[in-house]
């Protein structure tokens, strides 16, 4: 296997730019790291997960569905080059797999899938978290994984696409797998108390042990900013709207929506099945920890921690789960 330093990787990503529209973590002007093209900013691989919803590459906040001129409907064209996304964490890759399945099961969402198909996903793991913190290694659900050993990134190809990419990469030193083994052991030894907490919260919800009062209390602290939904890599809800783009020309867009809003389920008649703040707060947590378990066989939260970070009042899914478990066991 090969180990790369950042210079090698920058050159490699540049080379892969021939086949892909490459997005890497770049440093924005205030120090925020975000996905961008190599020429848009300084590459910043290390630093842990990206703040914004990482799956937005395939499912953007606002996206054109189609343009209709008269009776002629032109759907959004697929990207001219497939996307290559560098910088997901192992948790993010799990989220992406969850979203992939969601958008591909039963009806297939072509807007998502035309961006996702043939794309390449590169996970960063190992000691490249904030201040060198150890990030969990992926379960292999990505094309390529770059495992940072504190000095270099070990390249692990997990798919045919990943192997093809690895072949086109520049530089790198041939290295043994000892260091990888050590990192794998370290990754396995990472604490899993958060996962246990979440699983406990999930069982409480599935067993119907959380009373209405709990949700009233949490919802009193919710200011309906919707950030939990907008930052969540597995949230998929959207609304649709039309904008005129000239005489008899209309663009239809879709836009991230949030189940924390009163209008999310309100019907034109005024009836609202989620008409109280408590019901909406419950839905946010219950959907990920119970409904998804019933429907998909797994929780819809992979503990990326984004909703806890973006929530202005501290009621992200981890915080709420903690309170729930403290109160009800």
């Amino acid at each position: 296997m090969k180990a790369y330093d950042e210079t090698d990787l920058a050159l490699s990503f540049q080379a892969l730019g021939a086949d892909y529209d490459v997005r890497v973590p770049i440093l924005l002007s205030d120090g925020t790291r975000s996905l961008g093209r190599l020429e848009e900013g300084k590459m910043a691989l290390a630093g842990g997960k990206l703040g914004a919803k990482p799956t937005s590459v395939f499912f953007p906040q606002m996206d054109l569905v189609f343009q209709q001129k008269g009776t002629n409907v032109r759907m959004q064209a697929p990207p001219s080059k497939p996307l290559m996304v560098v910088g997901l964490t192992a948790q993010d890759a799990d989220c992406l797999a969850f979203l992939d399945r969601f958008f591909s099961t039963n009806f297939k969402d072509d807007l998502y899938r035309q961006k996702r198909m043939n794309s390449a996903v590169v996970v960063l793991s190992g000691k490249c978290g904030r201040d060198g913190e150890m990030l969990r290694l992926s379960s292999g659900n990505c094309d390529l994984e770059l495992v940072f050993d504190g000095d270099r990134y070990l390249a692990l190809a997990h798919s045919q696409t990943g192997k093809a990419m690895a072949e086109k990469m520049k530089g790198g030193l041939e290295t043994d797998e000892i260091s990888l083994g050590r990192l794998q052991r370290e990754s396995k030894a990472l604490p899993d108390d958060e996962l246990k907490l979440l699983q406990r919260a999930s069982s409480l919800l599935l067993d119907n042990k959380v009373p209405e009062d709990f949700w009233v209390d949490i919802s009193n602290r919710c200011i309906a900013c919707t950030a939990c939904n907008l930052a969540c890599p597995t949230c998929n809800c959207f609304d649709v709207f039309d904008w005129k783009c000239g005489d008899s020309c209309v663009n239809r867009y879709r836009l991230w929506d949030s189940c924390q809003l009163d209008g999310f389920m309100r019907e034109a008649s005024g009836h609202n099945p989620m008409g109280t703040e408590a019901l909406r707060t419950r839905r946010r947590i219950h959907h990920k920890l119970a409904a998804d378990v019933i429907r998909w066989g797994q929780m819809g939260c992979f503990l990326c921690g984004r909703c806890d970070e973006v929530c202005p009042t501290g009621i992200g899914i981890k915080a709420v789960s903690r309170e729930m478990v403290e109160k009800y066991g």
């Binding site: 925020t32 996905l35 914004a52 953007p60 906040q61 609304d239 929506d257 009042t313 501290g314």
Partner: protein, 679 residues
Amino acid sequence: MKRVLTTCTYCGVGCGFYLVSNDEGQLVGVEASREHPVAQGQLCVKGWNAFQFVQHPDRLKQPLIRRNGQLSPAFWDESMKTIAGRLKEIQRKHGNDSIAFFASAKTSNEENYLMMKLARAVFKTNNVDHCARLCHASTVVGLAQMFGSGAMTNSISCVEQADCILVIGSNTTEQHPLIGSRIVKAVRKGAKLIVADNRKIRLARLAGLHIRHRNGTDVALLNSMMNVIIREGLENKEFIADRTEKYEEFRKVVEKYPPEKGASICGVTAEEIVQAARIYAQAKNAMIVYSMGITQHTHGVDNVRSCGNLAMLTGNYGRPGVGVNPLRGQNNVQGACDMGALPNVFSGYQAVTDAAIRQKFEKAWGVEGLPDTPGLAVTTALDAAAEGKLKALYIMGENPMMSDPDQNHVRKALENLEFLAVQDIFETPTTQLAHVVLPATSWAEKDGTFTSTERRVQRIRTAIEPVGESRPDWRILCDVAMLAGYGGMKYDSPKEILDEVASVTPSYGGITFERIGQFGLQWPCPNKEHAGTPILHVGKFTRGKGVFAAVDYRPSVELPDDEYPYVLSTGRIYFHYHTGTMTRRSKLLDREERFPFVEVNENDARRLKIRDRQWVCVSTRRGEVKAQARVADVVPPGVLFMPFHFEEGAANVLTINALDPEAKIPEFKVCAAAIRSTP
């Protein structure tokens, strides 16, 4: 993809975030700025959706000129010449003060500075004002007199350092969400929260004490609290002795307000007042947060003074977690005031009546004979127009038809003008009355600075190309000045304008684009080495000693009677912003509240046989509007609350044009109204 760091265009909290645009130059989203000191990677629902209205198809894309009664498309050249020509002509015919200029709390500091320069240097009138008149004029007058500075004394970060927070007349989680969220967090960490507001706002649910005093009785409530504090010896004697003056006069007035008297005026119990007084006075660090529930009264300045008194009485100034903190409503209402878009002061609150100051500006601007008497305010200018004394009005980014009291009066005033020019980003009820309408760019299409409620001067940056033929307000103003024959308003960029501001404005003396950088600078910042001032009045007040103000309770002008038995209070809601021009063109925000509504207490509704979400008719002596009833216990019996964002159910058809004698702010919070169901 392109990401540009900018400052939110909605409220005065001043959150930073990135505007995201795609390869086609279309705004497609917002990303948080994780390092921004105010936002810290968080935003409210308006912030997350702030990109939505910018490229809305309704944007004004070319100038319009009224021809044969109809507004029709025109060229820039012709439109600009018409404006300059008509203004000059009216100036010649009717004198300098026959023209007024409305600057805008939505536009940048640079643009507000230019508007006031245009009014004063080019047209030689002090008739320049903006909508701060309608929100915090009382604050600017009241706090400046008492302490020498009419702004938030502390910083937003101080909220989480307070041991007690008194929120009076502010629905903070809705109007200043990222300050409200800090209050929520402070309460979780153990801070005591007192909410004085007769609506059951979200914070009231978390408050240890919720006082639902009658609308407009704040002076009585605060005087009674202070009566208790003095009676129980909880005042900070050392602070009073060292740092204040006129205490005795003040004490004598407060003596007249024992809690029983306050209770009977306010419609609360004396125990509640005593409790509030003790909680506030006994806290190590107690902070007052207020907003328009305090200011929008005919006794708005007195309300502000009472807040100032309370904090002085207990020594809560000049350190983290304390102070008197008026939350400014609009993104740049602080800045528009700072820039002197006010009838009595130049930038940095330098009085027009001061000859030395006038001389300084005459020299800096290369003009002579700057006017020396304060001009007309937004409210009084419209009165003058209605009376035919004001002939022309130039409005930049304001919508008085929706924002000012008594819409029929405003319409009459605007229709009475010989000439009305309006520049805005969307068509509004105000542009519909204009002779010339100019398409301006939004905040996403230009550079400049906004000053937030915590006096933080921050950058906005160009994220996308201008929509249609729209131009930034600063360019338009420069061109008008040039066409009007003034050569002193030529700039290549807003950066140069801010440099000029710094050169004539002591509190902005050290503020430049470079120094603002990513996260801004808080004024006063007198020189290039100064790091800014997060907390005012440390050690001593800006004016030296703080002055206690002895104020008596005065009832509101129009109280309920048999014909109009309800108190109507107006305000804003979380999802909409001001006159709704932007939020109502944002999909999710508009979806949340699509109709004008009026909050009615459930007991009143039962008696009136009004169901939730039923259409009702609300009327006052000024007019009537239709709105959907929201039946709940948010307002107490006898009170109605209406947001003013909706053109089709404009609350300001109903409001009364009664002004505070000093601040000229209208009494938006109290008038007498009736309600009935519509067939």
